[in-house]
Symmetry: D2
Subunit: 355 residues, 4 copies
């Protein structure tokens, strides 16, 4: 509490929202010298941010993606103790051929490690490894290297992977991905399922309003559908310890998943897929949600209501979002300080085994 003077000249004693220190942010993006994920891939949606967004905003984003010092400065000003960084989308997943994906993933992981986990700021960062899902066996091997040799906190995947072209894609529940999940289960680390735009030929609903693609609705839709595929595929029945993190308050699923379950009651016996439980069970057992890029209290509270306080995590989505803006929002929410600390950092410390 601090004394301030209101604009009407009256001294008031306003309870200024104090900064919550110690926060951990999980969906924080980076770029490497070897691989500019936003520019190099032909014919992919990876240029969407540039296509729709304001130039000044995007040039600031690009600059910040690679600048460690300004990132640390923003973290200091925002009460963020640790940022978990990843290669920005579409990342390795947007590469069309497998051998390139395999070698690029290795290079990127090495450079992210060098940039963020060595030097004076090493204690302020963790790194999400990237993997070449175009070759699932290689992805499993690279995941193992990331965790065991580079000390990554988990693996981040930008949605579906391109296999040969922009419209030929692979989802993570497809059978050939099994070796990857078996390894993840063994390594016992979380996978962050980061959004990616629907394949170009699946974007018709936005035609004429391409800017809507950049508005995040399309990202969220594609990611929610990807998560539903994981659930109904039986993946979490085969690997019950698999842990998946969704951004953006669970990409809408906390609001909609119960209706999905409600309708699946009526599906033909034996035809609603190999999953063994209602889908909300998996959301409550195998999923975590960050509030990256969301500054709406009702959305956050509904996510907490549907997933429980221990499965919701603070995040920013830097540098697409502003650390201080999102932190000020989060730190100022009128809820229990216990909940704020749990979502702000305690849950992340437990999930990422940071202590």
């Amino acid at each position: 509490m601090s004394a301030i003077v209101s604009s009407s000249g009256r001294p008031t004693f306003s309870k200024a929202s104090p900064l919550l220190r110690g926060k951990i942010a999980l969906e924080e993006h980076s770029m490497t010298d070897h691989f500019d994920a936003t520019k190099t891939l032909p014919d992919s949606e990876n240029t969407s941010e540039h296509a729709f967004n304001d130039e000044a905003y995007m040039s600031d984003v690009v600059k910040r993606l690679a600048d460690v010092e300004s990132r640390v400065k923003d973290m200091d000003a925002s009460g963020i103790d640790i940022s978990c960084v990843s290669l920005t989308m579409p990342g390795i997943e947007g590469i069309f051929d497998a051998p390139t994906a395999v070698s690029m993933a290795r290079k990127v992981n090495d450079q992210l490690h060098k940039t963020y986990r060595t030097g004076p700021h090493a204690h302020r960062f963790r790194v999400w490894g990237c993997v070449p899902m175009q070759d699932p066996e290689a992805a499993a091997a690279e995941a193992e290297r990331c965790i065991k040799q580079l000390g990554c906190c988990g693996i981040l995947i930008n949605g579906h992977s391109n296999i040969g072209g922009p419209n030929t894609i692979q989802y993570l529940d497809e059978p050939q991905c099994e070796p990857f999940w078996a390894k993840i289960h063994e390594l016992d680390v979380p996978v962050y399922l980061h959004p990616r735009l629907p394949a170009p030929d699946q974007q018709r609903a936005f035609r004429g309003y391409d800017f809507l693609l950049g508005s995040a609705y399309a990202f969220g839709r594609e990611t929610a559908e990807h998560a539903l595929r994981l659930m109904v595929s039986g993946l979490f029945d085969r690997y019950p310890n698999c842990k998946v993190i969704l951004g953006h308050c669970g990409e809408g699923l906390p609001f909609t998943i119960h209706r999905v379950d409600h309708r699946l009651r009526h599906s033909q016996p034996g035809k609603s897929g190999p999953h063994k439980h209602p889908l909300a069970h998996y959301l409550n057992t195998n999923f975590w949600a960050t509030c990256s890029g969301v500054q709406r209290e009702g959305t956050l509270l509904d996510t907490i209501r549907e997933m429980g306080e221990e499965r919701v995590l603070f995040s920013v989505d830097y540098p697409y979002e502003d650390m201080q803006e999102l932190s000020a929002w989060f730190d100022g929410l009128q809820l229990s300080e216990n909940t704020r600390k749990r979502v702000g950092f305690l849950n992340a410390r437990a999930l990422l085994k940071l202590d």
Copy 2:
């Protein structure tokens, strides 16, 4: 309050949830002799309900779509005073050629009127008119006939319309639809934007798990995107009195729309479409949401939080949903009786001008 005896033999005095009488349901479906909307259209998604759903469930649904007496009986048992009925999806919108759509819409409207608005139960029903959007001028004319001659409570549209084939579709914001909206604005009646599945070539995310299409996620996604198109198109700036009703707690938009607005802050100047306001403004000004097919309290409460108590309306989605099951859920929610009455019927009475 009534005395009951618990299974342990102890007399208890349980507060049984009383039936809320006078409810009005807005998303209630019907079939006509002339037009079996679920069966006749080749190569369309209109068979989805049959494809994925349990046979016993679907045969019961089909029987109930056309049976007025069992409908009234269910309404009596559920405290539903008035059902607003419509031709079930995909309805007229699924017809590929315009002349057929024009003549069929007319026949269907006449028969719905005869079935529900004449005879002993006429006071228990209202009818949503259907229109042939494949010919927007004809749609405008039919809308006028529905409202002025048949006394319809508004127009219900099952999402996009097929123009010539299953994958050649028209959204309601496209320029050729202007005459329809001009007429709706003049008639001052609501349009119920009912879900429809994405066009077949836009369903790839569900491939391998076709039952997910019937689970309502795909319906909701397509309808939310349709509603977003209406908002960004500037339709509600041109016709500020246009009123659109969404089912299923606003098809996810109350949870996600603020993030869409949040990202649109960064779109290139002049490139985020002709709309004049943040999208949440339209959701709060031009939209209403029913809780059709939703039995999840958190979802309903978040909808009320984002749209206000006066824009949320009870509904069932009969016969796809069970009137008594959904009514028992709604009548038993622990919220203010004032809110229950407002959502249960007062808002509908005002919106549909039933008094």
Copy 3:
């Protein structure tokens, strides 16, 4: 939305909370020349604010109680269109003898009318009449004069009335008050039941911690108990149109009243008082609640949940609270703009018949 520059030097595009214009505040306090309600009564609790509170704060409060110009300036800066002012507590209710109360009430009403309802700012104010409940017949007559001759928006009563001394008090449900309620029912105006501290001999739980009395818990407890007395007395069964406004989010009743009803199930038949309905029924039918002096979102949302959006009203509790601080909090709450307008002014306009 406006562009700002964050302290880290990055341009951001923050959604600044716009001022909600047109707000109406209902629990706003004043002082008159004839009657300094906070100082003159011997041996009463009316000095409590002075006893516990910071001197600088209290001297500012006293100055503002009587200063119309600074009040209007604060209203302008806060988006408050109309303040409904009343004589500050304990007001007429703290006078020990009836004749003094009768004549003082008349003088105060005349002066409040002259100060706030004549002159250049008349359109910015409404006045709550005060009445001498020490003589209920006179109170009824003065209420009629207030409404019919002075154009008051209703009557405000500061809890129990002293009858002869500090510990001999009268609650509004006592039989001798009947003429007052009969007149209120006839006049069809709301009564604002403003808090007052428990009588001195009922304050034992705070002994040793007298500052807790000024912390508002004791005010709220006494007022909630007064409201419960009104409910169980059958007053609202006899006068179903009587409308009572509580401040401070209903003084805790939205949170606790259902447990009271729950326990009353077990009271001896015929011994739970003359009331005909569960107490929550009256809270939903005869009561309104303002958020005066409350800056806690969970408290406001629970009040809305239990009373419905149409029975909750914005207020400040000026000058004990800061108009701009409370307005900034209210205007920045992340809820539907429809709800904000309804609570901010639409409900007040309807209840006070301001249109």
Copy 4:
């Protein structure tokens, strides 16, 4: 999920609320042969339950207070694994002279231990020790014996203690109670602060409506005020590990405490007591709340919002409340299964060190 047939003859597939097994209930009451806490004390409020409540209800309550077998049967039918039992109110606290209190507490603890912690049902119960606060040194010694020798899960205190008569009472923050708290701090066990009615001379607001005393409002008011005394006394600054459990969703404090803090901003410097933090800090740090006797979702959710998911605990208040009624309500709440398990038993297991 199970198939049911609705009363309209249609088969439906309702999601029946499954019983949550493993629940732990913390505010469960008992009687002993040596000491009928509800009958023996002259001139005390301990007969209140009998005075206001239905005879059939009270005779059932009295029978159940002492019957272990029917208690276990109810627990089995309700999914309650463990009940933490205590001597029912006013208990030892209602005894006027200290020596009687000291010897009675010892006898009661021995008998509760024998009844509930030996024999075939021992694993289904835990016992709250009672202590003679009329002699705080003896209370400390008895607390130590309870925990170390009898294996009690903590100490339960029924509000203030009578010292010599019905209106001469002692609150737990008074200086002479220090030895008790020092011992509690050393033993590191929680204290359940159970409600008790205000002393007879503090019940004036209910005069004429004595049944309101039994309605729980008065119990809650007195207990909230007692908890506020503990907070402002600085007790938790001196003994930061002291843990206090409140029943009935925190006795209203989650709804009102922020307004208390808000007003204490204005108290005279150095005069707002020896406490070092805002009161909400203690509510979030030293307090837990059970939902005993509360069957209102909004009240529970506001408690979770203000205290965090980990400080809210299931309870019944048996036999004053019905185990199956309250369990069915709790098990059917539409919130995350994770939250339900945490509130249902995980929090209790951690707080009471049951694993």
